[in-house]
Symmetry: C2
Subunit: 663 residues, 2 copies
């Protein structure tokens, strides 16, 4: 399958004279990262301006002309930081490492595309989050769990692919500052269990080297029960000496055979995956065993906190899945080795369109933490609906946990500021596949772009990110920019409006997670209920109910616990409320449901109408791909509206104040 | 995979002295059918009595001794009929054909197993329905659509299997009088389209010959678009001369290459299958084209009436899927060729636990008709719940259509009595697979057994069939017989009680069709709705609504049209009724829902309790297989009860009069 270049397509014309004046690049490109950096720079000049700056071997100290780009060593900077400045009409990229220079180059290309002025340029940046990772849920048979953009480009028929596309993938990641990638699904089964054996070392090394040359560490998802499933031991008990010795040997082998391996991601004791619970051990026992074995090689053990009872009885009103991550891990705070990181989903459930922030953030004080978000749009329209998620991530990152007097936001925690940590950051479940445009919906690429940029620099706004992504992908046309910006910036809001109301979530078709089904998960085993009856709806997670609200630090706990102070958008997540309860907005719950569902569809109609105005202004192929999806979204948002409204009208018997059509 | 012998296991001891006195069999067993008949007889004597009657070559005219079984030609009988009688201490089986003798032998073995007296024996029978067929929904990759007993024993990896098991399969069918079988799924795709090409003729011929020697005709499901999908023509227009010529050639080839081929089953213009609608033609055009081509070879074209709009809008209250079979075919009555048979499902929807009889029965007067039932328990517990369906089939067969003054039941119609037809009968979607016991649940074999026997002789009661099946399968133990009879005879009733109430149907998980999901199909495209709101539930199919009730002949039409006269068990199929409406039983709708769901589970508990008492009295393997399923049914019937009750309690707000636990 062919592939496009996304925001690195360099299809726009850069017209600014200043940039056209660049004629030389001074660089020592013997180092492979530098070679990639310089090559990228040349490509950008060639494709956007039709000029080929002369590449001069490194002579940073002797430059005297203007119109050159040169690289300067600045040992004071952090490894991935850079300083770009104009000096006597030349552009200087200063950094302490090749990685810093590479990031500086991508920054410079971005400035070029934005047609910033070279004169007086002075940009100093270093990544705010140490780890900025993608998690691919790719299976080795080529399928992708929750993949909406074709099949895997890493795997097919239990083999590892090393294809031309991988280089473009690495360029895309590096261009937005992503420095780690887990290439296989966290549900490690079948062939994937064998990734840590010599069956796959050769190909993994090749991948790993391609990544290394773009500053990206390779990570693998690990099968906790590997010693058993590979047929070598009868147990995976983390306190067994035999098991510990096995892992030490295995880690030695794996880290030796795969250079540039960053470590492992583990989903244990979750949704059928094996883990230390089998042996009556804690997750700290399990993670620490692996961490001890990986430590000599600088390996990280990233351990997911997505652990809950997935065989719950819907008749049980006491057990609360939202509590489970907290309850399973809070007691372990401070007991993990230094090279263990707990990876925590943004919310306590599972990537719904609206959830409160996970209560482990701010509760764990002595444990390395990473924030896990999902740009694969599992519950947010599966890349058939447009849903730009960066505004949601911004809200999550800016949430005050009150874990400290200052620097208490989620961003502060995963940036290492709150607890002075260096092994922390942010991971996104990836939205890519082997579709020509990488992400199925062309606009979904904004989430990949935005995620990387945001993890590098959370201060940038969602609107800025959308704006620059549009220019870099589709060029400078004002109508294109304004229209796509309108669409992106309204898309999450619109999706939430016609989706499950007021934070309750889960009103989707089981398994597929696409399309409305109000009772789809209501009588199931997954701990995902709305408890709607003819009087009201919502889960009582206050102190009258499951007590979940009390897991937050004050004043958050009290705010959520009281329906009067609980934000409207999360009211039904925290409280069971009658349909005629008046929200802080002044509307009743039921009228809010009707209004948002009608208005959400109207907003989609507006988006689609504006999009159709772009015909001829976008590459034809991309326009047609998007148009088809927009037409589907238009129809499908009506399905959401009508099913949700009909369900609640039939159940409550309360008519819409505005008399609109409900079935 | 190994396989058992089901009701031909001959494991009981026949102790009656009369039977032990049989010492000779006079038969000319050169004909392959006779060879099979005699071999079966010998096997039965050997295995159940340990005796080996001497086989004497045919000398029917000269026998003089007693204690013999002999075969007599009686040219007056119909081809498949037989007369068994005692004459001077000998048993005579008189028939006009080998097939009649074969059926006579199986009848005799049955009598032997029932330990009937030989003295004075006088049994004359001929099949009431001319065609008694199985429809296998087996795919050529080995999977079975709606199969709950393992994989196909006809196909694997796009190849046809001809294995030892097939002979036992043929014996089982012949033993209950089944005389035709369609071996491949009606959804004909991929490799199955090629069954009418030389790729498969050799194996099909082999299968066909095995069947022929047991009096069974081989049928195939046909892809209507075969000329196109085989890549030979651009069209499948039934009025195109080119297409007609293609089919004539093809039929010539196929019938020449596969001896004993009975004809074809076709699902056209249904659920995505191609058909004549593509070319603006009628189903009569399509069926007649094929029938004309098959006619020279005596081939039958069995055309399914399961044609409906499967992309309906749930918001549309006018379109009624229940009407579609009628509306699509009624105008075509009398226009089909004589070798076309319309195959009509028992109800207008799709094999729900309760449906009214299909209104085409009694409406079509000049068209060959077959009744299609489903012993594959797609909607009736998938062979994990026990559900003996013969009582349901008995009700359907005895339904008065009022199409004639006398002989107006469904049984009369499909037996050919009502309209003097000979190409008619009954087909069952098969419940077999390559499981050791053939049907997954051991008790599900009673449906296969009962179906065949019933099509041969609809006068036999469901209880008689169950009783003899139990004895033949598990022997004479009284407690075994009484317990299994109690279970079988209560099983459909129990399943209906905890399933969707009062004929409404469809409250199942989409696609899988297993387990409760009240709204599972409510907002979907399949035309399957319950329309429940906080006031009431049901589909108005009266003259106020879709008018479906009016499709029946009087007095049925009026009976169904009026909620006061409509039978309780179908009330919600025909009417939208408030929850507090009082049924003819005196209970309100809502209280009926609660009561039947609680009582249905209690009935299951009683069944399971009684079954557990059989430990040690049944073959251990069979006992354990059934026990596991009974435990699942016990738990799963609670899931049905609680979900249905909770749904309606939450929606109606009306409490259970008896105060039982609802969630």
């Amino acid at each position: 399958m062919g592939f496009e270049q996304a925001w690195l397509s360099y299809r726009m014309n850069v017209e600014a004279g200043e940039w056209k004046g660049i004629s030389k690049i001074y660089a020592d490109s013997r180092n492979p990262i530098m070679k990639n950096a310089v090559s990228e720079l040349q490509k950008a000049f060639r494709e956007m301006m039709g000029i080929e700056p002369v590449l001069c071997s490194d002579s940073r100290e002797v430059k005297a002309d203007t119109g050159s780009i040169c690289f300067k060593l600045d040992r004071e900077r952090k490894a991935e930081g850079y300083h770009i400045y104009e000096e006597d009409g030349n552009v200087v990229i200063a950094a302490s490492s090749e990685c810093g220079w590479l990031y500086g180059v991508f920054e410079l290309i971005r400035q070029m595309q934005m047609e910033s002025s070279i004169k007086g340029m002075n940009i100093e940046r270093e990544p705010v989050m140490p780890l900025r990772m993608l998690n691919h849920w790719d299976n080795m048979d080529g399928s992708i769990e929750r993949g909406y953009s074709g099949n895997s480009f890493f795997f097919d028929k239990d083999e590892i692919l090393v294809e031309e596309r991988i280089v473009t993938y690495a360029r895309l990641l590096a261009s937005v500052g992503i420095n780690g990638t887990v290439i296989n699904n966290v549900n490690v089964k079948d062939a994937a269990t064998w990734l840590i054996t010599d069956r796959y070392f050769e190909k993994l090394s090749q991948l790993s080297e391609i990544f290394a040359d773009y500053g990206i560490k390779l990570f693998l998802s690990l099968n906790y029960a590997a010693p058993v499933e590979l047929g070598e031991l009868d147990s995976a008990d983390p306190l067994s000496e035999e098991v510990r010795a096995w892992w030490k040997e295995r880690m030695k082998l794996v880290f030796t055979q795969i250079p540039n391996l960053g470590g492992f991601l583990i989903k244990a004791d979750s949704e059928g995956r094996p883990g230390p619970f089998t042996y009556g051990r804690t997750h700290a026992d399990g993670a620490n065993m692996l961490a001890e074995a990986a430590e000599p090689y600088g390996g990280l053990i990233i351990w997911r906190c997505f652990v809950y009872n997935c065989k719950q009885d819907w008749r049980d009103y006491k057990t609360d899945r939202a509590r489970s991550g907290y309850d399973n891990f809070i007691e372990l705070d401070g007991t993990f080795r230094d090279n263990v990181i707990l990876q925590i989903k943004n919310g306590p459930m599972d990537f719904q369109v609206r959830e409160p922030v996970h209560p482990l953030f701010g509760a764990l004080k002595a444990t390395n933490q990473m924030l896990e978000v999902q740009i694969a749009q599992e519950y947010t329209g599966q890349q058939r609906h447009v849903c730009y998620l960066i505004p949601m991530f911004k809200e999550i990152l800016s949430f005050h946990t009150y874990a400290a007097e200052v620097n208490d936001t989620v961003e502060d925690i995963v940036s290492g500021k709150t607890f002075k940590q260096t092994k922390c950051g942010m991971a996104a479940v990836a939205n890519t596949g082997n579709d020509e445009n990488w992400t199925g919906h062309d606009l979904a690429a904004a989430n990949l772009y935005g995620f990387g940029r945001l993890a590098f620099d959370p201060s940038v706004t969602a609107e800025e990110l959308a704006g620059e992504w549009i220019i870099r992908t589709f060029g400078k046309d004002k109508e294109v920019r304004e229209t796509l910006l309108f669409i992106l910036m309204n898309s999450w809001r619109a999706y939430e409006m016609y989706n499950a109301p007021l934070g309750i979530g889960w009103m989707v078709n089981p398994s597929y997670h696409y399309g409305p089904s109000v009772d789809g998960y209501e009588y199931d085993r997954w701990g995902t209920y709305h408890r709607a009856d003819h009087i009201g709806i919502g889960v009582d997670r206050s102190h009258h109910g499951t007590g979940y609200a009390g897991l937050y630090r004050e004043p958050n706990a009290s705010m959520y616990d009281n329906p009067e102070s609980c934000p409207d958008e999360l009211l039904l997540f925290f409280h069971h409320m009658p349909y005629d309860h008046r929200l802080r907005s002044g509307k009743t719950v039921i009228q809010h449901i009707y209004d948002t569902h009608f208005e959400g569809v109207e907003l989609v109609d507006e988006m689609v109408k504006r999009f159709e105005g772009l015909e001829g202004k976008l590459p034809d192929k991309a326009y047609r791909r998007m148009l088809e999806r927009f037409h589907h979204q238009k129809e499908h948002s009506r399905e959401w509206r009508d099913q949700i409204n009909s369900y609640f009208y039939r159940k409550s018997g309360i008519a819409d104040e505005k008399g609109r059509k409900i079935y």
